[in-house]
């Protein structure tokens, strides 16, 4: 579904992404894992052209992303960011309708889809007319996801989607959301620095450091056959006693 080749992004002072190549299969969930500043978010944002690459190519569904205008491309790709990235002046119903409206759907169709998503995400109907400030963190996150999924995009990009939630809610929400059939059929690229999140959600993990992929493979492979000490150290994040 997504083919990335030799992707490089240089900023004035440093190289953020350095020759990254990877493929994401249809319906697969790929997690970009790494410390902050490792280039994972830059890689993600180049997929929907929020950032333009210095060199290399990205193809989504066999089309080079640079062949279509940015806004048009982004309407085909779901995008979820921390705390949902909701607009403070849009009600939940308006938020979910954002992309379908941009795509020119019929109002009745939008309404149908909105109710479908609300049901699937187990949000009460009463939230439809509320503003983000009137929702709980978990609810905001669900609405953010509903907005990304509304137009049934084949690909969804998530940038630290659960970063703003407390650990308990985070586990709860992500289990629930990733249990959705809707998401299972979708190709997902998710960025996180949380190892347990990556292990739990990923079909494959791409562990990044200093702009390069250190190891890519299914979670079990990274755990059992780490390519080097960095991978082993990074994944072994269980709390240890001092001087152990």
């Amino acid at each position: 579904m997504i083919e990335i080749q030799n992707l490089t992004k240089r900023f004035e002072s440093h190289t953020a992404v350095d020759g990254v190549s990877l493929n994401v299969g249809s319906g697969e969930t790929l997690v970009l894992l790494g410390t902050s500043g490792c280039g994972k978010t830059t890689t993600l944002k180049m997929i929907n052209r929020l950032i333009e690459p210095t060199s290399g190519s990205i193809r989504v569904a066999n089309v080079d992303v640079r062949q279509q205008p940015g806004p048009e491309l982004r309407r085909q790709i779901g995008y979820v960011i921390q705390d949902g990235g909701l607009f403070p002046h849009y009600t939940v119903a308006e938020a979910i309708a954002t992309v379908p409206k941009l795509l020119g759907w019929e109002p009745s169709e939008i309404q149908k889809r909105t109710h479908e998503l609300i049901d699937k995400l187990q949000l009460p109907k009463s939230v439809l007319n509320r503003y983000p400030s009137e929702l709980s963190g978990g609810q905001r996150q669900r609405v953010g996801l509903a907005r990304a999924l509304a137009a049934k995009p084949p690909v969804v990009l998530m940038d630290e989607p659960f970063g703003a939630l407390d650990p308990f809610t985070r586990r709860h929400v992500r289990r629930e959301l990733f249990g959705l059939n809707e998401l299972k059929e979708t190709t997902v690229v998710l960025v996180t620095h949380d190892v347990s999140e990556a292990l739990e959600l990923a079909d494959r993990i791409a562990l990044m450091d200093k702009g390069r992929i250190v190891q890519i493979g299914p979670p079990a492979e990274l755990v059992k056959q780490p390519a080097n000490d960095f991978v082993r150290d990074f994944l072994d994040d269980k709390p240890r006693r001092l001087h152990d």
């Binding site: 491309l73 995008y79 705390d83 403070p88 002046h89 992309v99 941009l102 990009l157």
Partner: protein, 519 residues
């Protein structure tokens, strides 16, 4: 306080007109500022390199004092609505540009990224996300601009653009507290009212604010239209000084004596002459010996029914001074009748427009009148002190007197020019700080003696009778003597451009009233 309400009731029409004009001025300029300021604010939020220079220029404009700003605009735009609107527009600009800019740039970067991430174009991000979220801040700017404009719009009355400033400035010119308050209180209420209303609007929830903003945008042109409402125009446009408009012996006197009915524009008296010269008004009030009458070729309309009290000039002297120096009185009287209206106008013209020194003008005049003598050399031990008010005509008169007295007598003249207004001169004379000064009969009558209404009614408003009356009263009450009149009469008058008056066959105020009355 009852006086105040009486005034309001008597002038309700005028007050309503002024209030509507005031609101109109405020909102026309606000509308212009919105049309220019909001796009400019958006532009500089996109090109932040421009931001500091645009905000800097708007900030400098904001700091120019309002009267000074009008001073810059009058040479460019003349008088009337033009300079008033431009000044108000410039003042409203900064808060609107700044708040648009701040409102947009302060939208959270997360929200902007999310908007881009879901596939909005730059224009959609602006109209669907940034502007709606910036709206409360932009509104705060509109509110500031409105309140500033309600205040500055009072100055529109300086340049004949109307508004509540007319009552305020007329009230100040006439020391009429009720009139001042009749302008000041509504102006203050407007400012407070608009501030309150817009503050309410600003606190509305997101959705209601959008509706409120829309309603406001529709309302602004409507409020602006108030400015156009008082549409009836006279055949000839009158521009009157604030003082003339309100003083009993000014416009109200004309209404009573001639039945003159015009809708005058009120204007600062120093701008009036420029305004008639440029054809922005056709009739102005003024003083009959002003040098500008000659400079701008104006015609003073004859006042055959004596609506304006005579302001004949004559020296007022302490009786004690006359007794001490027997030569003094006869010397001053040598000028009697020598300074006619046209002579005095010409002298004023030489000073104001030819920029000649009063000393040279006085010497030239005395030589032509055959009264000039070179002062005899030698010690002068005896001294008389002369006062004068602060305007051109009085400076020239003072110089004429000094040269006359020092040429004809062995007295030394000390001049105290610049004694301000009538009251200061008169007090100085009474206490003996000065020995004499040139005064006008009308001023002596109406400002100093202030006789009762019934006395005034029985006093014929003619040069002779008024002169005799003040002379006798001053002698009785203050032991001050009015010597013989100089000949000219610097009274209120109406004037028109000579050419236009000739064309319309108007020579007197009666002609004017007749002309205006014709359909």
């Amino acid at each position: 306080m009852t006086d105040f309400f009486t005034f309001i009731r008597d002038h309700a029409d005028k007050l309503l007109e002024q209030t509507l004009t005031h609101i109109g001025l405020t909102f026309v300029s606000l509308l212009l500022a919105l049309l220019i300021g909001v796009p400019l604010g958006i532009l500089i939020s996109r090109r932040t390199k421009l931001a500091s220079s645009v905000l800097g220029v708007a900030g400098v404009l904001q700091t120019v004092p309002s009267v000074a700003l009008l001073g810059f605009l009058i040479p460019l735009l003349g008088i009337g609505v033009g300079p008033a609107l431009v000044a108000l527009f410039l003042y409203a600009l900064l808060p609107i540009i700044r708040n648009t800019y701040v409102g947009i740039t302060e939208v959270s970067p997360f929200v902007k990224e999310a908007a881009k991430g879901v596939g909005m174009t730059d224009n959609q991000i602006l109209t669907k996300v940034e502007l709606p979220l910036a709206l409360p801040v932009i509104f705060a700017g509109v509110r500031t601009a409105t309140v500033i404009n309600v205040g500055v719009a009072t100055l529109a009355a300086y340049v004949a653009a109307g508004g509540l400033g007319e009552f305020i400035f007329s009230g100040i010119a006439l020391s009429n507290v009720n009139m001042m308050l009749a302008g000041a209180i509504p102006a203050a209420l407007l400012a407070v009212g608009f501030d309150f209303g817009l503050a309410r609007l600003q606190r509305l929830s997101v959705k209601k604010l959008r509706i409120g903003a829309l309603a406001f945008l529709i309302l602004v042109p409507f409020l602006s239209a108030f400015y156009l409402l008082p549409g009836r125009e006279d055949k000839l446009i009158a521009g009157f000084a604030h003082e003339f408009y309100g003083r009993a012996d000014g416009y109200p006197g004309l209404q009573k004596t001639y039945g003159l009915q015009v809708r005058p524009r009120l204007i600062d008296q120093n701008l009036m002459y420029e305004a008639i010269h440029q054809g922005q008004v056709d009739i102005i009030s003024g003083y009959s010996t002003d040098g500008r009458i000659k400079a701008f070729d104006l015609l003073v309309l004859a006042d055959n029914r004596h609506a304006f009290p005579p302001y004949g000039a004559a020296p007022v002297v302490r009786q004690a001074t006359l007794n001490r120096y027997p030569d003094f009185g006869p010397t001053l009287d040598k000028l009697a009748g020598k300074l006619t209206d046209s002579v005095m106008t010409a002298l004023n013209y030489q000073a104001d427009y030819k920029k000649e020194a009063p000393e040279a003008i006085a010497r030239e005049f005395l030589k032509q009148a055959g009264l000039y003598k070179t002062p005899k050399p030698g010690e002068r031990t005896e001294t008389v002190v002369m006062g004068s008010k602060v305007f051109t005509e009085q400076y020239i008169l003072a110089e004429i007197y000094r040269q006359l007295i020092e040429g004809q007598t062995p007295l030394r003249v000390v001049t105290k020019t610049g004694l301000g207004g009538t009251q200061i001169c008169f007090d100085a004379l009474r206490t003996g700080a000065i020995d004499f000064y040139p005064e006008y009969t009308g001023t002596g009558l109406l400002v100093i003696l202030q006789p009762s209404a019934s006395t005034l009614q029985h006093l014929p408003m003619q040069s002779d009778s008024v002169y005799q009356f003040v002379r006798q009263q001053f002698q009785e009450k203050y032991k001050l003597d009015w010597l013989k009149p100089l000949g000219f009469n610097n009274s209120y008058c109406l004037m028109m451009r000579r050419e236009q008056a000739k064309q319309l066959g108007i020579q007197s105020i009666a002609d004017l009233v007749k002309y205006l009355g014709e359909k």
